[in-house]
Amino acid sequence: MLTKLAGGRLFDPTNGRHGEVADLWLRDDRITADPGPGATPDATYDLTGKVVMAGAIDIHSHIAGGKVNLARLLMGEEHEHHRFAGSPCGCGGGSGLATPSTHTTGARYIEMGFTAAFEPAMLGSNARHAHMEMGDIPYIDTGGYLVLGSDDFLLDLIATNAGQAAINDYVAWMLTATQSLAVKVVNPGGINAFKFNARTLDLDEPGPYYGVTPRSVLTVLARAVYELGLPHPLHVHGCNLGVPGNVATTLDTIQAASGLPMHMTHIQFHSYDTEGDRKFSSGAAALAEAVNRTPTLSVDIGQVMFGQTVTASADTMAQRRTAPLAHPRKWLAMDIECDAGCGVVPFRYRDTSYVNALQWAIGLELFLLLDDPWRVFLTTDHPNGAPFTFYPELIRLLMDRDYRLAKLAEIHPDAPAHTTLGSITREYTLAEIAVMTRAAPSRILGLADRGHLAPGASADVTVYTDRPDRRAMFERPDLVFKSGRLVVRDGTLVAMAQGCTHVVRPGFDDLIERRIARHFDERLGLSLKHFRIRDEEIRHGAGPVLHPCRRREVP
């Protein structure tokens, strides 16, 4: 099958194209070079005046696994009010907005031109579940970031001075056994400390039992990820999420990395200062400045948008703190398998609330003050800040200053005074949106054949009409191709496609396996044989897509 996308404006930052008019050719599931004058395409689309980009990639979206399913159960009312029939193309029915069911998740993403989304908090103990669920999401590529840093085994390695090499081997072993793409740390050591009844844990506070500080968890993991040569730097959900004044901790966390690459996630929730009568203000300017001058750092925002959602996180410590604010007033918490935990708290962000209004403004402030779109990613930390379906609205806020100022005028009247948002004139360009949602995500995750339009890349392509209303433009692409197949036309599903699961496999010294096996037998009551996820378990036998790691040494 040869397809010609004729005469569109290509926004393909990886290959230095910023709106140049060119033809794009797809052969089967790949983008291919112009086959020359003799070739007759099986299908031709006249894209004169249209905007053409690679399929968008969401690097941080809670789409699968135990906590998402628990959130679905807790959000029963929402699901009852939002039920969807299947589509004739084979996409099944489902329900939900903030915690959509699997087919609904795939459908909503592909309808917006996203062809990949990554689950950023996969617990080792729950990995098999997360993979089964990801395999049931049609249309999009997926992968999981393995949560480490509160697992008793790692803390024991650190506490007993097992050494960096042993830690690297353990991390590599776990990535392999759980079929993961990256490593995430959530409230380093904090979820573990909470199991010993610590309700807070600061960056330099030794945790209970092991006496290990969050700083040391963070640094050994950042170093392990670097030395193993994983494409994606350590994905960090820091300490003190949501606590006023936490911007100081966040700045300290940047220091703690001491030059090692690090991705700080949903930094909006970690950018709070304590100025003003309410002791709650924006710390965005200071944080943006620190990120701007640290080229080894990347961030995603975790933008808050107004409305009902649900927060689902492995950070039981933080979730227990916010549980009294639950709306509706119900929540759940879980300690999990000497591994981590999960907390699910429904939440309604209101523009009439000073705190929520400021959270909204802080997120936008960060987007606009961070000057390198290659190091900042479009996320709402779905569903924690808002469902991912708010991305088109968020893009409009970034690209349209007048619209942004109009919205700023609607929020709690005291909030604007505590942010710099009103004075920022920047508007994102289409090229910058293409960087932030395509080129940069593929680069930061090491997905060499995704997120761009050069020959050989996966034929994941989205075509938009260039409308001044950027929300309308990004909400409803004209055409979406997944692996070369046209799956969305004018916002409607027209065919079925399946994505793949991306993993890394850095290799390790298997001597570590004896210590791990003892831990599994004595503590977890499960042998390694039953824990390991085999390739044939991924996507009903299709297996994962492997991405190379390149071992490095810290200078």
Partner: protein, 422 residues
């Protein structure tokens, strides 16, 4: 004779991975595991009838599948129940349910819904088996001994010394239920406090209320033993409250569950305390997880014009059975005849060695996950999913295979109707 060590058991929901299985030409047999369920259910003969039966007469599989598709396609009120299958089997059943507008429910969902009712209206605070094993210094068992449904619960998850408890001491307190003799033997001196009940038939709800009253600091003088238990909960580092709601008697068992979650939260405010609601034989939890991720709703969900619709009362399989005209009953784990009766037609997917007294309209033999084919099952604490491998090949298809073929047959007949212009 071949020996298979470290075999994963998919039956009760504890996910024991240490079963030894002997295999010879006649079939497989487990070495004594300490679990009556594993000892019974892993014993399978090699020689079984692999033919399907239509009203008791053997028919080729193709014919049985075509007839099943015809019956299900024409059904006005189809029901898919039993639903005892691995995750792939359940997902196939959900695809079929959406296609024909059936409701789905698991045979053993009663216990689950007592817990889910509370999760959905109030939330919960719970833990998992490895946390119980390593962190708990006090285990409060509410109601009948869960070992009745989870035979090796105490041996595997409570008898080993807790790793994170200084000194390794752990007490197990039964409230409103007696430990089984095997439990007493297994836990030896750890069972400390008994006799909280003042009458021989204790009312569980009342006992839990008395404990919550004591936790609130009231009535210590009248109820000193409960006050003492409350004090021990508050003094524990990590107390785990264990219950198997399926074993609760009484008119509104979900109210007991809610009281327990509230109790857990009271204690958890100052020290650590978590619940451990156990339910989950025959991959009940996996069926519920798959139904939740696929539809957004738990079991007891149907489809209205292709969109899922949940009703925990109306779509209980026992109620639906009354007006279902066709029931697809799935029971892949146990060669035991299910107990139900219906006026409608029954298509049964079950192991061939199942002795059937009332022959259904169609009987289609299927393999057991973890014996005849690999399959995923969830543990009773809902987090850990396990992949049970294949042990023997008796030529039996999986539930997912059979339903997949029914879906193909349904598509073909729909295409044929379209071509014929009807």
């Amino acid at each position: 004779m071949t020996f298979h060590p470290e075999i994963l058991c998919p039956f009760c929901g504890l996910g024991c991975g240490d079963i030894g299985i002997d295999q010879d030409d006649s079939g497989i047999a487990p070495r004594p595991s300490g679990c009556p369920q594993a000892d019974r259910l892993f014993r399978r003969p090699m020689a079984v009838a692999t033919d399907a039966r239509m009203a008791g007469t053997q028919v080729p599989m193709d014919q049985a599948v075509a007839e099943a598709a015809r019956l299900l396609g024409a059904a006005r009120a189809p029901l898919i129940a039993g639903l005892a299958a691995d995750v792939d089997g359940v997902l196939a059943a959900l695809t079929l349910a959406a296609r024909i507008g059936a409701t789905v429910d698991h045979e053993r969902s009663d216990a689950l819904f007592r817990n889910l009712a509370v999760l959905r209206r109030f939330g919960w605070s719970v833990t998992t088996l490895a946390e119980l094993r390593n962190r708990s210094d006090l285990v409060l068992v509410v109601g009948p001994d869960p070992a009745a449904a989870f035979p090796r619960l105490w041996e595997r998850w409570v008898a080993p010394p807790p790793a994170f408890v200084p000194g390794g001491g752990r007490s197990v307190v039964f409230l409103g239920g007696e430990p089984l003799p095997e439990t007493v033997q297994c836990l030896a001196g750890q069972i400390e406090t008994r006799g909280m009940e003042t009458d021989p038939q204790p009312d569980l709800a009342t006992l839990v209320t008395r404990l919550r009253t004591a936790l609130a600091g009231r009535g210590a003088a009248e109820d000193p033993r409960m006050a003492e238990l409350a004090a021990r909960l508050r003094a524990a580092r990590y107390a785990v409250v264990v219950w198997a709601a399926g074993l609760f008697d009484g008119p509104q068992p979900d109210l007991i569950v809610e009281a327990l979650v509230r109790l857990v939260r009271t204690v958890d405010g100052t020290t650590r305390c978590a619940g451990l609601p156990l339910s989950g034989a025959d991959n009940l939890i996996g069926a519920n997880q798959a139904c939740t991720w696929r539809t957004g709703f738990p079991l007891r969900t149907g489809f209205e014009a292709g969109a899922p619709f949940h009703d925990p009362d109306r779509f209980d399989w026992r109620s639906r059975l009354r007006d279902a005209d066709v029931t697809l009953w799935i029971s892949a784990f146990r060669p035991e005849e299910p107990e139900f009766s219906t006026g409608g037609s029954v298509i049964m997917l079950a192991p061939p060695e199942t002795a059937i007294t009332a022959e259904p309209a169609l009987f289609i033999p299927v393999g057991t996950p973890g014996i005849d084919h690999a399959g995923d099952v969830f543990r009773a604490d809902s987090v850990v999913a396990l992949h049970a491998g294949a042990l023997i090949d008796r030529g039996l298809p999986s539930v997912a295979d059979v339903i997949g073929r029914m879906l193909v047959a349904l598509e073909q007949s729909a295409d044929a109707r379209e071509k014929a212009g009807c």
